[in-house]
């Protein structure tokens, strides 16, 4: 294992590095010993239709555990890694297996449907799920710590950017589940408020790869942009087929009908292939191209540890942050008891690869820094927009949405 330097740690009230055992009493010593082989569950679908992202998440989580174990923090994590294979029914079975072994902290899940599948188990066992992926919001379980972006940290910034720079006529294509439905609702609200229009919403089963009809419809409609909420292999195929279809008609797809996504990450750019990799917009709190010392350190360690890939991504960083925040919470609490960890967690600050990250005590979502990137031919993102500071999570869009849903276009007829 290469020598790794942990992130810079800050703590509002406590030092984050535990005192040596010789300096504490017997009780503290017992607690300290209890933190030496702490079982942590990792639940990632490293096979299946979204395996690429999930493998990068697993890598981020594994890297963090190794760094923590070498950091002198006084904690040793022993990850138990289980793979549901992208099969929804496997998530609850495997989560139950982890929780029945008295594991109290599990890092994992990518899709919202998988998260919702396992939450009742975490509530039953009084355990904590550390959910390290961006999602559509409208949830705040007391048994979940959300380290990925809330909708006001990635969906709304992208919608604002698209409407300001690309026009008001949207065409939505997505995987048929809550992630796409809710993102499209948010888009529709914003577009309607500006007298724009959503030309169509097309949904496909997760894993679907035949988009010929939808692509024909898009080219026919000529929207200002395509708002893409397809995930995994579906998304990669869409990018390739859409670029090919546009090229055949002499359309400069990236310039004339850009595709924008809230989930596109670097490992996926590689999967799309070099022929269609460039010119896509993505909204995220992390891109590999962020040039901070913490990110350069993270990337170096990640690439050394996982030379076979997949490369780092926003979800890998969120997983990495989740494990580090868990470690800081456990170290500060002196126990892995979930309530105590949550109490201490809100006082921890992490100098994460994306910048400062900390947990909001009201919602247990993370303060994160929104950014928008445009993909280039090197399968990386060039930053085109960046928030000045970490943004407070607003999972219910209490501070970022209209009181009422957007009004539909009234159907009027001439009466005289």
């Amino acid at each position: 294992m290469p020598e790794m330097a942990p992130p810079n740690l800050q703590s509002v009230s406590n030092g984050t590095v535990s005192p040596g055992p010789q300096a504490v009493g017997l009780l503290r010593w017992v607690e300290f010993m209890g933190l030496q082989d702490l079982q942590v569950g990792y639940l990632f679908s490293s096979t299946g239709s979204y395996e690429l992202v999930a493998r990068s998440m697993l890598n981020g989580a594994l890297l963090a555990a190794e760094e923590i174990n070498a950091s002198g923090l006084g904690i040793r994590f022993e990850p138990s890694v289980l793979n549901p294979g992208g099969d929804l029914s496997q998530y609850s079975a495997l989560a139950a297996k982890l929780l029945e072994r008295n594991i109290r902290h599990v890092v994992g899940c990518y899709t919202s449907s998988s998260r919702k599948e396992v939450i009742p188990l975490f509530e039953k066992h009084d355990a904590l799920l550390w959910y390290p992926s961006h999602y559509e919001g409208f949830e705040s379980s007391t048994n979940v710590i959300y380290t990925g972006a809330a909708p006001n940290q990635h969906v709304l910034p992208l919608v604002e950017y698209l409407l300001a720079h690309h026009g008001h006529r949207a065409f939505c294509v997505g995987s048929n589940y809550i992630w796409a439905w809710e993102n499209n609702r948010i888009l529709r609200e914003s577009v309607s408020a500006r007298q724009g229009s959503v030309l169509a919403e097309r949904y496909f089963a997760v894993g679907e790869t035949d988009f010929r009809q939808a692509i024909e419809a898009i080219i026919e409609a000529r929207p200002s942009f395509v708002f893409l909420t397809l995930i995994g292999t579906s998304a990669y195929q869409f990018f390739r087929d859409f670029r090919t279809a546009c090229r055949a008609r002499g359309i400069d797809q990236a310039r004339e009908i850009p595709v924008a996504s809230c989930s596109l990450s670097e490992p996926e750019l590689q999967a799309i292939g070099e022929d269609a990799v460039d010119g896509h917009l993505s909204s995220s709190v992390y891109f590999c191209s962020i040039e901070t010392p913490a990110n350069l350190r993270f990337l170096k360690a990640y690439e050394l540890r996982f030379p076979e890939g997949p490369i780092a991504s926003a979800d890998a960083e969120a997983s990495y942050n989740a494990v580090w925040l868990l470690a800081l919470g456990v170290a500060a609490a002196g126990t892995d008891e979930p309530i105590a960890v949550k109490e201490e967690l809100i006082r921890q600050h992490l100098d994460a690869p994306q910048g400062a990250v900390w947990i909001d005590e009201q919602t247990f979502h993370a303060y994160l820094t929104p950014r928008i990137g445009r993909s280039n031919r090197n399968a990386r993102f060039d930053l085109v927009s960046e928030a000045r500071a970490p943004v407070q999570p607003d999972p219910y869009l209490v501070h970022n949405s209209a009181r009422f849903e957007a009004a539909g276009v009234p159907s009027l007829r001439l009466v005289s």
């Binding site: 939450i119 409208f138 949830e139 705040s140 379980s141 007391t142 009201q362 919602t363 999972p395 219910y396 869009l397 209490v398 501070h399 949405s401 209209a402 009181r403 009422f404 849903e405 957007a406 009004a407 009466v415 005289s416």
Partner: protein, 215 residues
Amino acid sequence: MTEPRLLQNFSGGRAIVVTDRASSLDVLTTALDRLGVTTNPVDIVGSIAAIDLATLQPDRSIVFIDGDISDGAVLPLSTIGRLPPAPVIGLLGVSAPSRLKALMKAGATSFLRKPVHVAAVYPALFVGVNEYRHRRHLERLLEDQERRRRSRRDVVKAIIRTMSEYGIDDDEAYDLLRRRSMRTRQTLEDLCKDLARSSDRQEDGECVLRRKLAD
């Protein structure tokens, strides 16, 4: 009358909680706080009778009533729709028919099972408040229909007089009145009432009618 838009963001709302177990409200008040709904200590009361009705706002207040309380007090309900002055969400302990009936009679449009689960609060608010708004809309429609029903006599009068004045049949008379009401941005019933009263007041009622219906 336009169907009300769905309320989706409850920020700025005010919760009034009727319960005799104020100590067990942590989950509810924390969840409401996350949604931007404030619960002031003075708004946690032990009886419906203790609610200051003058401060209730149908668009901002949300009343949570513990179904396990039975003090005989009730919120005043509207005549037609039997609606309380603000949306009511029932807190269900015992799910027996008598308790459910009591909460329904209090105007509850959704329920939260006790102990309250944090994930259930937003859906309960969403359904309860929007169902209340929908029922209020239906109540206004009913009131409007009732008002129109009471105006039938004036409409009949106006049609007969128009037929007589212009020598046209009832369909043409109705059409003339309807077009006039749209031009003057009045309901047909209001126009007819106006015409009927003007005609009743003046001996040369037919001239008044012609003048009022003139383009």
